[in-house]
C-alpha cells in the first residue's frame, strides 16, 4: 500500500514493473492486476494545451490518499496497491497519475482500482493550470468521466 507524490516525469510501466519486482514475495498469490494511467493531453475544451502546472496541498494529499487506500482495503480483499501522482510542471503526453491494485481475483482488483481513481479525481487536493497559446487558465472542474 504505497503512495508517491513526485515532481519529476515517471515511466508508469517501469514503476509498476519495479514495484512488482520488489513485491514478488507475494508471487503466486495475486491472480489479477488492475491498472489505470492518466496522461496529460494536448487539448482540452477545444484548445491546444502547451504545458501544465499541477499544484497540490503537501501533507493533505498524502493523508487523503493514505486514507483512501485504507478504505479500499476495507471494502475489497486487495493484496497491495500503488499510487503515483505528479505535481509541478508537466508537458503533454506525460503521465499524471498511476493507480495499480493487486488482488487474488479480478473483480476486487477492478472495483478497487476504479474506486481509487474516481475518489482521487473527486477529492485529492490537486489543481491544474494550463498554458495555452493565449495565456494561462485554471481548470475549473474535472470532467465527470
Amino acid at each position: 500500500m504505497t503512495v508517491h507524490i513526485i515532481n519529476a516525469p515517471f515511466d508508469p510501466w517501469q514503476e509498476v514493473a519495479n514495484y512488482q519486482q520488489a513485491y514478488l514475495k507475494r508471487a503466486g498469490r495475486f491472480g489479477a492486476t488492475a491498472c489505470f494511467i492518466g496522461t496529460m493531453r494536448d487539448f482540452n475544451e477545444g484548445e491546444n494545451v502547451q504545458a501544465m502546472e499541477l499544484e497540490h496541498y503537501p501533507g493533505m494529499t498524502e493523508k487523503y490518499l493514505g486514507k483512501l487506500t485504507e478504505e479500499a482495503r476495507r471494502q475489497w480483499p486487495i493484496l497491495d496497491s500503488l499510487i503515483i501522482h505528479r505535481y509541478g510542471h508537466l508537458q503533454p503526453n506525460e503521465p499524471i497519475v498511476l493507480v495499480v491494485v493487486w488482488s487474488a481475483h479480478r473483480a476486487a482488483a477492478f472495483k478497487a482500482c476504479y474506486y481509487l481513481v474516481e475518489e482521487l479525481k473527486a477529492n485529492a487536493p490537486f489543481w491544474k493550470k494550463e498554458t495555452l497559446a493565449t495565456g494561462t487558465r485554471w481548470v475549473e472542474s474535472n470532467t465527470s468521466s
Binding site: 496522461t39 496541498y57 503521465p95 479525481k121 475549473e140 474535472n142
Partner: protein, 80 residues
C-alpha cells in the same frame, strides 16, 4: 490562540496570499476565519475547506494550532 491559514490555486492567486497566521481569543468557526481572511463575501460553494488536512464544513470550530485551508474545486488525476 493562533491558527495557520493556507490558500491554494486560483484562490491563492485571487487573494494574493499563500499562507498567513491569525490570532483570536474566543473559539471561532471556519466561517468566521473566512470573514477575517477572505474576500469580503460569504464563503462560496466553490470554496472547499480543510481543517488539519481533512475536509470540513464552515461551521467547524477551530482550535489553537489548527491549520485551516481554503481552495477551489480539485482537478487532479488524469485527463482534464
Amino acid at each position: 490562540m493562533a491558527i495557520t491559514v493556507k490558500f491554494f490555486a486560483s484562490l491563492r492567486e485571487r487573494l494574493g496570499c499563500t499562507e498567513r497566521q491569525i490570532d483570536f481569543s474566543e473559539p471561532i468557526t471556519v466561517a468566521e476565519v473566512w470573514t477575517l481572511v477572505g474576500d469580503g463575501q460569504p464563503i462560496s460553494e466553490n470554496v472547499l475547506i480543510a481543517v488539519n488536512m481533512e475536509y470540513a464544513g464552515a461551521e467547524t470550530v477551530v482550535r489553537d494550532g489548527d491549520e485551516v485551508a481554503f481552495f477551489p474545486p480539485v482537478t487532479g488525476g488524469g485527463g482534464p
